[in-house]
């Protein structure tokens, strides 16, 4: 595959992530903060998001596994995850967190457990998607090309 084909593939793939709702405008914002002096910015932020999320999901699993669930704590964790997913543009994770918080308020353990599953699923999906995207980027750069600038109108 030549660079042009790889770039088109990257564009198509990125577009699909927006169309399918995995990513929202905030991700575009982050891409625009990247430049030749900070070529890894998006990867760096997203890596922090992955680390953060995995820690929070572990804490959530533990918190919901307790005999007496501390819903305040659970809500605090979900709030954190909602914040960081929002900041990177991981829209479906963010939305899953919003739904989760409603059930925290209701203090409904079963529903919270279902929400946790949902959040984990969305997180895994977006993680895979973003890792694929970053791999495509690496291939383009390795072949001597540059990452196209996203121009999606919303």
């Amino acid at each position: 595959m030549d660079v042009g084909q790889m770039q088109r593939q990257w564009l198509d793939y990125t577009r699909s992530l927006f169309i399918e709702g995995f990513l929202d405008n905030q991700f575009l914002q982050l891409q625009q903060l990247q430049d030749e002096n900070n070529p890894e910015f998006v990867v760096e932020v997203v890596s922090l998001f992955f680390e953060d999320s995995e820690r929070i999901l572990k804490d959530l699993t533990f918190a919901l596994d307790q005999q007496g669930v501390d819903f305040k704590k659970v809500d605090a964790h979900v709030h954190q995850l909602k914040g960081s997913s929002s900041s990177v543009g991981a829209q479906r994770v963010k939305n899953a967190c919003i739904a989760f918080r409603n059930f925290c308020e209701e203090q409904n353990v079963e529903a919270c457990l279902r929400c946790l599953q949902q959040v984990k699923q969305e997180y895994c999906l977006v993680k895979n998607k973003l890792e694929t995207l970053f791999r495509l980027e690496q291939q383009i750069v390795a072949a001597g090309g540059s990452i196209p600038m996203m121009e999606l109108s919303f």
Partner: protein, 199 residues
């Protein structure tokens, strides 16, 4: 737990044109983003992870002690933080004779009107709804973000006339004049924008 850039801080008389922003947020992701946003606008950034750390940095943890060479032009803080909230931090800063004139901007993922009002009443200059974008940070240009035209002197009186050195850049977004009740416009506009979103 991180507190960056304490030693490399801006000294009096050296690069005093560079705007130094103290950013406070318990989220590592958000700290990284706000730092990049501010650096793009040519600010020097010190990012800390809590209100307590912020007070330590300012030397406010032990009775208003003056930290030699410290110059902070703007404080931008998250609202929801464990322990000391952004609101608590705001209050402490406004209670301090050394730092009360420093503009404080609050960030929050939740666009709760009473919360915004409370912060503004306590003396916050502006309120940004997260996720933070470049346009939000550009709005802070009246505090020197994005480059100074005139050097804003720290007053030695409590009466502060901030309208004396307006920036003259020709950005199309409405300029916030710190001397008027400015913040009614922008957070409310932002509110209207976010309430139409999926959130």
């Amino acid at each position: 737990m991180e507190c960056e850039g304490v030693v490399s801080g801006v000294r009096m008389g050296e690069s005093s044109e560079e705007v130094h922003v103290l950013a406070v947020d318990d989220s590592l992701v958000d700290r990284k983003v706000i730092e990049r946003l501010l650096k793009i606008l040519a600010c020097k950034v010190t990012a800390v992870d809590s209100g307590v750390r912020a007070l330590e940095y300012l030397g406010l943890d032990q009775s208003d002690a003056f930290v030699e060479g410290l110059k902070v032009d703007l404080i931008i803080t998250d609202y929801c933080m464990p322990g000391m909230t952004g609101y608590d931090l705001l209050k402490k800063i406004k209670e301090s004779s050394t730092f009360r004139e420093i503009p404080v901007v609050i960030m929050s993922s939740e666009n709760i009107l009473p919360r915004i009002d409370r912060c503004l009443e306590e003396g916050a200059e502006d309120f940004i709804v997260k996720p933070v974008k470049l346009s939000d940070v550009k709005r802070l240009k009246d505090y020197g973000v994005g480059g100074r035209i005139n050097k804003r002197k720290l007053p030695d009186t409590t009466e502060l006339d901030l309208s004396s050195s307006p920036p003259s850049d020709s950005s199309s977004s409405p300029s916030i004049s710190p001397s008027s009740p400015p913040v009614i416009d922008s957070p409310i506009q932002r509110l209207k924008m976010t309430t139409t979103a999926l959130d």
